[in-house]
Structure formats: C-alpha cells, structure tokens
Amino acid sequence: MTRLIRRLLIANRGEIAVRIARTCREMGIDSVAVYSDADADSLHVAFADRAERIGRPPAAESYLDIGAVLAAAARSGADAIHPGYGFLSENAEFAAAVEAAGLTFVGPPPATIAALGDKLAARRAARAAGVPIVPGLTVPLDGPQGDLDGIGFPLMLKAAAGGGGRGMRRVNTAGELAGALAAARREAVAAFGVSAVYAERLIAPARHVEVQLLGDRRGSLACLGERDCSVQRRNQKLVEETPSPAVTPDIRAALFESARRVAGAVAFWSAATVEFLLDADGRHHFLEMNTRLQVEHGVTELVTGLDLVAWQLRVAMGERLPRGVVDAEPNGHAIEVRLYAEDPWNDFAPVAGRVKAWRMAGGPGVRVDAGVSADTDVRPDYDPLLAKLMVHAGDRAGAIARLRRVLDETVVGGVQTDAGFFRWLVDEPGFAAGDYDTNLIAERWSAPPPSTQEMALAARAASYLRDVGPAASARRPPGGASGQSAWGIAARRGALR
C-alpha cells in the first residue's frame, strides 16, 4: 500500500513543529503550520511552507480542537497530518478522524493509540504478554477507601489517561491519600478530561529507562536503543541520555525483549517508546507505552544517525524498514537537556516573559532544536520548552565535557531558564559517575545562592551597561560599505570602547 505524502500538516507548535518542518523540507514535502492567535509570528510558522490559523490562544480552542485542525488540513490541501508530541498526538479519536477524512495519520493505528492510551488497559496487556509491570492496580481506584491491593505506602497515584507527569501524586501516608487523590483527579480532569486515577507501588530508588521503537506496516520492528530519563522534576523529564549508564548488556537485552512483547501485543507501526522503571537490583517494570515521537528522540538520532521523523513519514507512506535501520548500531554517547523557561531556584516553577538575548551553541558534536529566538514571547498558554540542547561524543565523559562547554556558550536573557541547574548538574559528582536516580533533584539540588563572584560580575555588567546604554542608543552606527540600519538603533560595539 502506497500513500504518497505531498503536503503534511503539522498539528503542533514550538520546537517540534520546527523540527518536523525541517525534515519535510529535506524530503521535498510541503509543510503546513497551524497556529493560534498567540503564535501568529512564531518561529514554527516562519519555518513551514504555509500556515493556517486554527483558533484562539487556549489550547482547547486551537491545538486541541480536532475540528479546527481538520478544517485547516482541508483548506491547505494537506494529505497527511503529523501530531508531534503532546496535544492530539495520543488522541485516538483524532487519529481516527484524520483517517476518516481520507488523510494519512503519521503514527500508529488509532486502535493501538486507544488501547495504550488507557494506562490501565496497557498495564493489563503488558502483564498478559509476560512483561513485568510496576506492582499496583489494573483498575481505577474508587476513592480513598478503595482497594489498594496491598500496595503499601509510599505509593504513586496516576491518571489512567495520563502522561507527561500530569495527574500524578506521590502519597507517603494513608492520611495524605484523600487530599492527594482529589488533587490528582482535578489535574487529570484539567489535562485529559477524565478523572480516573489508579495507584502503583512507589519504586525508589529507580531509574526511568525507555526503549525507542520504530516499526513498519509489515511487522518489522527496530529497537533503537534505550534512553535514561531519570533526571526529573514534577515527574517530568529534564535530561535524557543514551545509552543509560545503568544498563548492562544483560539488562538491555531484557528491556528490548519486554519492549518487543508490549509492541507485539498490539498492531503497531511508526515510532513509539516503551517506558520502564529500573529498580536498584536492575529489574525493570513496565510503566507505559507512548505511541508517538518523544521530546527526547533526538539523542537516539544522534547515536544512530537516523532521522526518526523521516522514517515515520516513510513508514506512513508504506515503505518498509530496510535492514540498515532494523540493525542500526548506536555510536558514542548523546545527552539532551531541555531548556525550559522555569526557575530552578523557585521549585522549577514555569515563568513567562519575553526572550531577549538568545545565543545557542555551535561547533562539533552539538545539536540545537529551538522553537523560539530573540524577541519571542513565552506565554503562559503553553508548555514553556524553549529549546533542546543535545551533545554527542565518543563516550559519556566526552559528552558531559561537551555539555558543560555548550552550557557555557548558551545565553538566554529576558526569562529565567533551567540552564543554571544544568550548569550545576554537569559538575555534580554523582551525575558525572552515572550514579543517579529519579530523586536526584529532590535529594541533591539545594538551589545554591549565587556566588560572591557571580554577584560581583552581575553588578559590573549592569553598571557598565547603565553607563553606556543611553549613549549607545543615541548614536547612529557609523555605517559600513553600504546599507544602514533601518531604525538607527543597532548601536555598535565600536562606539562603546
């Protein structure tokens, strides 16, 4: 079956929409961006070949509005839709509606998305396939008085429709259960529209390790290595690396076997990720399977040399995975840090504002996938992911050294980001040794105050610019060989010496 994709609508925004548009341009496929009123001048709109407005800033009225997205696809003449991650990417109703409209959905079949989107059904399917799951419920929890099935405390409450850390709460004692359950349900309804919550044993210490899968429509399946995503805050990933420093060849073989079994329990093609917790004894426990591209897919691309979005598109068009993809061998070590507008010194709370200075790193072994640039507004309507900084080197020590260098080169002004946390992390002895788990931030990050030297430098910088700033803006640039500033405002360095 061949379904040629000539024009692809990207039902997303930010860095992932830019990233997908890049692959479209390389493959000669027209890309169509969609945007809410908040994003009319966004980078992802500028990068796509064409753009369609889909509604007002709240996601429910634009990026989550199935009708608006399908109408945009029809208006633009798109023949396929890529959902990216988040938003409608794991919405089976959306995937089915795309196919019903005669378009190609770039992802697994709708029934598979539905089966795995219900986290409880996924747990039952994994257990039936002989894959170890995190001990706990496989049906929703009725209420604080419900059957906790001998799970014990502490335990984790999770949204049955969950993902991305939303609707998740750690419960330390029976006394906390009622309040936590109410909070988890409230967040689950807000995020997914479904209040069902279940309980799992809290495995700690644990590492969060996941396996990248890529499959075609004929049943070929590639296991493209694992990723370690244990550095988390609010149960959301901040750092991902491949290979995992905790995964031995034996553990890897067991992880791949479990991942294949879960995928084998459903009709599967396209890209997906099977997530596990790895306990202190090296045993893995199935968490969930995400039937979409992950935020962190880039580190797998760096070590395999594959373009996962290109392969998603080729598989969607009916192509088979060649031997070189199925047997791809990873090279070296890759690490990603997620550059969010958030404040590590204030509990990693998201912040809004306007990005001013925006300098990303370059040179050997660096990949930057950004969704913003200088003068971009970070609005509270959406996830505040600004960019993903990725490094690739021959080994883990080289990748960490490179990441430290990349962070030294990276400057974002205007909004606080988590870059300062990463700068601390690369010098944290446990991280350097590969010895960390999902509690790294809770246990080791103390939000240290600025050093005396840092404060002295900040004072120096501000004093200097207060002195030269107004003088600089009042002068016109001397003008080069030709071409003047349009606005006479690009005051120059030379004038300031």
Partner: protein
Amino acid sequence: MSGRYRARIDGRDIEPADGWQVRILDLPHGLISLGGDAGSILAAVEGSGEEWWVTLRGRRLRVELRTWRERVLAEANVAAQGAAGPLEVRATLPGLIVAVQAEPGSDVVEGAPLVTIEAMKMQNEVRAPRAGRVLEVMVAAGATVAAGAILLRLE
C-alpha cells in the same frame, strides 16, 4: 565609571568586579561577555535606571543600581511611608485560579497553600510567605489572573 552606583543583589550590597572587561556582542538584545583574570563568561543584561537583570551561568539575577541621589530619594520615600502595611501576596505568573484554600479571617502558617493557579498546563500552589491572618481574598476559583495580580492580603 561604575563606582557611581551602589549595587544591591538579594538585599546585599555588592562590590562590582571592576577588573573585568565588558564586551558587547549584541547590544539590542543585551548579549555581552565579561573577561578577567579568572576566565571569561558570556552573559545577558536587560534593564534601565535602577532595575537591571543579569543572566550569568544560566541564572538571572536582579541587580538594583542606585546613584547617591537615587538612594537619598528612595530613603526619603520609605521614611514618608512609615512602617510596612499588610503583606500582599501576588501571582508570580498569569493563569487560571483553580482552587482557593485561604479563607478570610483564618490564620495560616508559613508555607501553607493559599491558592492554586494553573499555568503552563501545571497546577502551581501559591504558599504563604510567612505566618499571618488572611485579611482579604481577592480571587475566586475560575478567575484568570495576570502576573503580579494581588491574590490576597496577609496581616
């Protein structure tokens, strides 16, 4: 020249690192480099007048810069206003109020949850910065607030 200003960060008087050379890489966006005996560092600077923000090693620091004249004016202002009044608790980011835990007239301990704001798809709890009595609650669940909006007053 920078000796003209008194710099304050986190409530502390800071002596500027005057031995460091400042190079401006992109003036409109405030990108600079600082170079000194202990190395070099890229940084971002925004601000004007007395209020500046400097991002160094990934951390954004608020820098208050005051000339002698500005200090005198500021101190006169404080003297004129007398002692501080009730504490206003403000939204640090814009969002939707999804729950209000604080009740007018009740006493709260430091760190007690007061209001839950949903922003960036996350639920964020605003907690009491110090113990006190809730004098007045300005918001209700379902309302949208702007950054900096007053949520409630603590005595």
